[in-house]
Symmetry: C2
Subunit: 462 residues, 2 copies
Amino acid sequence: VTALVRALRDICGAQAVLEERSDLEAYVTDWRGVYTGTALCVVRPATVHETARVVAACREHGAVVVPQGGNTGLAAGATPLALSNAVIVSLSRMRTVRSVDAPGCTLAVDAGCVLADVQETARAAGRLFPLALAAQGSAQIGGLIATNAGGTAVLRYGSMRSLVLGLEVVLADGTIVDGMRALRKDNAGYDWKQLFIGSEGTLGVITGAVLRLFPTVRSSVTALAGCGTAQAAMDAFALLNESLGETLSACELFHDDAVQLRCAYDPSLVRPMPASPWYLLLEAGSSLRSLSEAVEAGLERAVERGFVDDCVVAGTSAQARALWEWRESISESEKRSGPSAKHDVSVPVSAIPAFLERAASAVVERHPGVRVLPFGHAGDGNIHFNVLLPGDGSVDAASVNATVHAIVAEFRGSITAEHGIGRYRRDELPEHRSDAEMRVLRAIKHALDPDGRMNPGAMLAI
Amino acid sequence: VTALVRALRDICGAQAVLEERSDLEAYVTDWRGVYTGTALCVVRPATVHETARVVAACREHGAVVVPQGGNTGLAAGATPLALSNAVIVSLSRMRTVRSVDAPGCTLAVDAGCVLADVQETARAAGRLFPLALAAQGSAQIGGLIATNAGGTAVLRYGSMRSLVLGLEVVLADGTIVDGMRALRKDNAGYDWKQLFIGSEGTLGVITGAVLRLFPTVRSSVTALAGCGTAQAAMDAFALLNESLGETLSACELFHDDAVQLRCAYDPSLVRPMPASPWYLLLEAGSSLRSLSEAVEAGLERAVERGFVDDCVVAGTSAQARALWEWRESISESEKRSGPSAKHDVSVPVSAIPAFLERAASAVVERHPGVRVLPFGHAGDGNIHFNVLLPGDGSVDAASVNATVHAIVAEFRGSITAEHGIGRYRRDELPEHRSDAEMRVLRAIKHALDPDGRMNPGAMLAI
C-alpha cells in the first residue's frame, strides 16, 4: 500500500478506495469497450471537501487525476491510458439533490446525480429537465457537463452548455471554486464555468451544478416524413422550422438504407414509406394545449411544395414510440451488421445535403466495398456519417475517418459535434484547428492546470 | 507625431487615425457622460488584418489597446481612464455583412455592424435576430458580444452568449484567431469563444461573429397585469410561464410609483390600473398563427387564482406600444426626477419578492430621504433596483450601492446582470467573488494577455 493510498483512505474511508484489479476493471474500460487502461486506484469521495482533499493529495504524491462520472462517454475521455500514476476520482457517491426551485425553474445537484434521476426530480416538481440521451440511466451530471452532452432536444433547448447556470469545481491544486449561482443572467467577470463545460476533465473536477428547468410540455406531436432527396428533407425542415418555430424540438434525418437494415434483422417489420429514400422524424411540443393542427398544416404545406412525399402523424404515444424506434434502432442495426467507421460531425445546417453527397461519393470512391449509413440530429447540423466496412478487413476505419473529416473541413464543420475529443480524436484535433486556436487551447489548459495533472492525454497531447 | 501614430497611419491610412482633441472627445467619454478619459489616438481599421497589425504595432510601441464599438456600454468598459498610453481601436469602419444563410438560420458579420442593421438584414432574409435594446441604433455587434448584452427577449432567446455561434478575434499579440464557424453544435476542444463573450475588451479585439437567426414570430401578444404585491406578480409569472411555456418572451415588472412618476411629468396620462401597486408587462410570441387565446386563458386563470387583479390585452400594435412605453419610459422619468443610485442586479427568479422587500427596507432605513424605484427583467431575475436620492446631496450613491449589493450577496445574486463590471464596478467585484474565483479570472486574463495590454483597468484592477 502506497503512501497515496493511505492518504486517500484517511480522507474518504478505506471502503471508498478501490485497488483490486477486478474492482478497477469497470473504471478503466471505456463505454464502447475499445480501450482498457490502468490506474493506481479508484477513489470515491462523498463530498466536495473530500474531493478537494483527494485532488490535493494526488498532487502532493505526484499522481494525476482522471475524473469519472457514469463512464458512458463515447470518446474515452475518462479512461486513463499510458499513465503510470493515474487516480480515477469517481463522483458516483455524490448524488444528493441539493435544492429544487420549481417557480424559479432551477435545480442544484451533486455532480454524481444520474441523469434519469434528475429528470425524475424535475418531473416531480412539475418541471422539465430537457436533456435526454440513450445512456441516461447511468450518465452523471458532472460527466454530461464535462462533455457538453447533446441528446435529442438540442434543437429547442440547446446542449448542456445552455442548461447549466452555476458550477462548483475543484481545481488542479485542490482549491474549491464555488460558482453555484442560480442566475439566468450574470455578467460579473469572465464566465469561467464555460471553460469547464466541455473540458473533459482536463481543467478540474466538477462537483456540483445548478441546472435550468423548463415548463412542462403539455402537447407534443411526433411525425415521420418520407422525402425523395436529402435536399428535399432539409427544405421540409426549413419550412417546418419556420412554421413551427419555437415548438420544434427534434428533427432527425435518416436514410431508407437504415430502415432496410433494421428490417433485415426483423422480417416482421414493414418499411413505413418504401418509395422514399430519406426519412425526416419530427417532434414538436408546446406548453400550449394543442399543437397537432399546426404540425399537420405545416406538413400539408411541405407536401404541397413537393418537399414531402408522404407522411404520418402519430395518433397515440405508442405510435410515437414506434416512429422514434426507427431512428433509435440504427446504432443497434449498425452494430449487428459488422465493423463500421463512426463519425460525429457537424456542418452548417444548410450544408447538410451537399456534405452528404460529397462525403458519400468520396468514401465510396476511395474505399471500395463500404456502405454509408448517415443519420443524426439534422436540425442541429449534426450527422453521424457512419460507414459500414466490408467484413474482410480490407478497409481501415482510420482511413475512412480521414476521408470524411477532410470533407468536413471543406465545409468548416466540426469533427465532433457532441461526443467530444477525448482520446479518440485527440491527435486529429490539431489538423482541424489553426495553430493560433491550438495555442489558445493550450494557454487555457496551462492557466488552470500548469502542472498538467488533470486528465492528461485527453483532448490535448501530453 | 509619434512613431506609433506613423505606424498606424501606414497600416490604416492617415484618415483612419484621429489625434485632434475635438475628434477624440466622443471616443473618450462614456455613454452616460460620467467619465471622460484620455487617449493617444483613435484608430479605425477597415479589416481584421489591419486590426491585427494595429494591435501588434501598439504592442511594439508600448501602447495599450482599448477596443471600442458603438460606445453605448453602461459600465464605461470602453473608456480609457488613468492610462497615459491608450490607443482606442474603433471597429466602426468594419460593418460588412459577410454572409446570410436563411435556411441555416445564421448570419456572419463584421464586429462593427450596428445592431439595428443586423436586425434589418435578418428581417430581409425572412428571419429574426432577437437581440433588441434601447441603443440598437448605435450599438455594434462586437461591443454587444464583449459585454454579453441582454435586452428585452432574454427570457426566450437568452443573452448574446446564446446568439453567438462563431467568433473571430485578434489576440493581444496581434494573432488572428478565426473561429467563424456556423455550427449549432461543436465539442472540439475548449469553447474559448465563451471567454471573449463578456470579456469587455480585456482579452482581445472581437472582429467578426457568426450569429444565430430564428424563425419569424407570426403572432405576438402584449399584456399588462396589475398585481397587489410583488409576490403575486411573480406567482402570476410562474403560472403564465407554465401555461405559455416556450412562447413567453418578456416579463417586465415595475411599481405604480414609476407610473405615477411618469404621470407627474405628463398630466395627460392616466394610470392604467390605479388600484394595483405592481405591474407585470408580458409579451408572448409564436411562429404559430394565433396565440392570443392562450394568453387570455392564462391571464384568466391568474385572475381566478387571485394573482392578478385586472388586466388588459393589447388589441392593436399601437396599444402594444403604449403598454411597452410604461416600462420603457422609466429611465427617462428617473433621470428627470434628479439624482439616483442605479443598480443592475440579479437574484434567483423566485427570490425576487423577498429581495425587493429586504432591499427596500434596508435602503429606506439606512438612507433617510430616498425613494426606491425597482423595475426590470423579472423573468430573468434581473432587477434594476434604482434608488432616487434626495436633491440636497445628503445621500451618497456609492453608500446606497453598498447597501443594495450587500443584500444581493445574501441572495447569492450578481451585482451586474447585464451591464457588466467595466470600470464602474471593478473595485466591487473582489468583494462579491471568492479569492478562488478571482484567481481563476486573473489566470484567464494572464493566459491570454500576459503583458496586460488589453483594456487595462476594465473588469480587473491593473
